[in-house]
Symmetry: C2
Subunit: 84 residues, 2 copies
Amino acid sequence: MPRYQATLLIELKEGILDPQGRAVEGVLRDLGHPVESVRVGKVLEVVFQEENLLKAEEKAKVLGQTLANPVMETWTLEALKELP
Amino acid sequence: MPRYQATLLIELKEGILDPQGRAVEGVLRDLGHPVESVRVGKVLEVVFQEENLLKAEEKAKVLGQTLANPVMETWTLEALKELP
């Protein structure tokens, strides 16, 4: 079966306080690179086997729904590619 | 000045042990969604002002170099867009 790699982004919803992002903002300001805001999320690179690209996309969506907390987070399937 | 949003991915280099990814693998297996591997990284959504897209790209690269640990991590500028 072909192998696929899905890149899933899991980010905090708008309005959810992000202390880690605030900390990064402070570090960047102290280093002389002031920015307006930073939000920190997770990126997951998941490798799995599936019959074809269509089924791989379905599986990647199931993974996103499974791994994100629907109350506080949103997920995006950023990329899906077949591995050689 | 226009505002830009940069999406930076910061991921562990190949060969660096990723216990968080291993834990996610285990959770997915227990939930009936077995996968071959999971690598967990960070995604940073950074908003800043800059004169134009070219300078914004330069700034985003500086941010990537600043925020990633060159010994253990790689960074990618996944997206850069002007905000309305």
